[in-house]
Symmetry: C2
Subunit: 216 residues, 2 copies
DNA sequence: CGTAAAGTTGATACTTATCAAACTTTGTGG
DNA sequence: CCACAAAGTTTGATAAGTATCAACTTTACG
């Protein structure tokens, strides 16, 4: 893998790392910082199709299909490990184990998108937001970025809205609900989860509340 | 590829080919017939995460991650080409170009899910339905299944609803709108598009067509 | 001919979007 | 250090889009 690596790249906040439709000659791995993947629709709206956390691979579609199918943007300052796309062939020829790893990454990304699709398509607002926050909390904790129930979350409310198919205003009000319920606090680019259990409870699709049966 | 193939399998309509969570030892390619991929949420609702048309690969997640992340069901009678999962590793070792092809398939599936996510998250009902029908029409036409502007479409309205995150009733009324507008007719498991231009117009594009696999 | 599955329709309730405006925070230059 | 601009957050009022419910029709089939 050492020979595969080409160099490192620093991306400033707000920078577009890869553009949809681009056929860049490079692939990346995120070393530090966070970013997001998104698509722009014809009507100007944006769909966030993924959040990039440290360790995530970037540009696989480009590497394998010759063109990016979504744009990638740095949310915070990011350090990227740069690979050369042209060396991808060599990897498939000479390092089947790593080639398999790449396929595994692709399949994993597909899996994550499937989960998001189910959340966006079938959950209601509160559940969507709770689900996403819970996901962040879990993933970031697994990355060792949890300090006193607080994980870094440098995104904006608009990002969450665009990810879950909600309007900014509705997302804001939903976040307020979770905050007032004392479940989470999201401020200063950090998410603090006071009641992990309740968050997880909201995150699982509870659906409609069962109409309470009158006590006779 | 010949040695890779294990045999053929016939799946009857309504049959579950692969179950979410299952770690079957087989992979498939759809030769004839159609099916769909779906996830079940905790509250019982269903999210369709993909439609399987002739030529589609089934079970890649299982092959590469050891477990299916969604279920696969035959909608019509299907003929499946069966592969053995255990031979996957041989393929990666000895046939790098086919291994690359598999990765390409995985990346393509990710791409399709991204498109669906954008549609489900950011479109309104009429646009969602028009987008999906337009997608069927385009893909099936590309498969040579178009006869006089009519393509086979053996799914039920519930499937479209579960794919686009709509209720059955709303989907029904939306379909009625497209029908009354003289744009499409969907009856007897066949979709006839009378005004391809108007259908495409309603289906605000999220991106481009599925790219064909590049020659290595 | 009875039954089950799928499609249709109208009435109603709820969720979410949109609009508009105020407020807060942050960064920048005078 | 303050004024100002820009970006982000918050809130209330209202409109639009969808879900839900319930009944009815049509079709397929043993």
């Amino acid at each position: 893998m050492t020979g595969f690596k080409t160099g490192e790249l620093i991306a400033q906040p707000g920078t577009e790392i890869l553009a949809e439709g681009a056929s860049a000659s490079q692939l990346f791995t995120a070393l530090h910082g966070m970013g997001l993947r998104y698509k722009l629709l014809q009507d100007g709206s944006r769909q966030v199709v993924g959040f990039i956390l440290p360790g995530d691979f970037i540009g696989l579609q480009n590497g394998v299909m010759g063109e990016m199918k979504h744009s990638v943007e740095a949310t915070t300052r990011m350090t990227l490990c740069v690979f050369n796309r042209s060396e991808l062939w060599d990897l498939f020829r000479n390092q089947p184990q790593r080639a398999f790893g790449l396929t595994h990454i692709a399949a994993s990304e597909e899996f994550v998108l499937g989960e998001m699709l189910a959340a966006v398509g079938r959950m209601e607002g509160l559940t969507k937001v709770a689900w996403l926050l819970n996901r962040f909390f879990t993933r970031l904790t697994a990355l060792g970025l949890n300090e006193n129930d607080r994980v870094p979350l440098p995104y904006r409310q608009q990002d969450i809205a665009d990810a879950m198919g909600l309007s900014l205003v509705h997302t804001n009000k939903t976040l307020a609900k979770l905050r007032r319920a004392g479940i989470v606090t999201w401020a200063d680019d950090g998410l603090t989860v006071h009641r992990p259990d309740q968050l997880a409870e909201h995150a699982v699709s509870v659906g409609k509340e069962i109409p309470s049966r009158p006590l006779i």
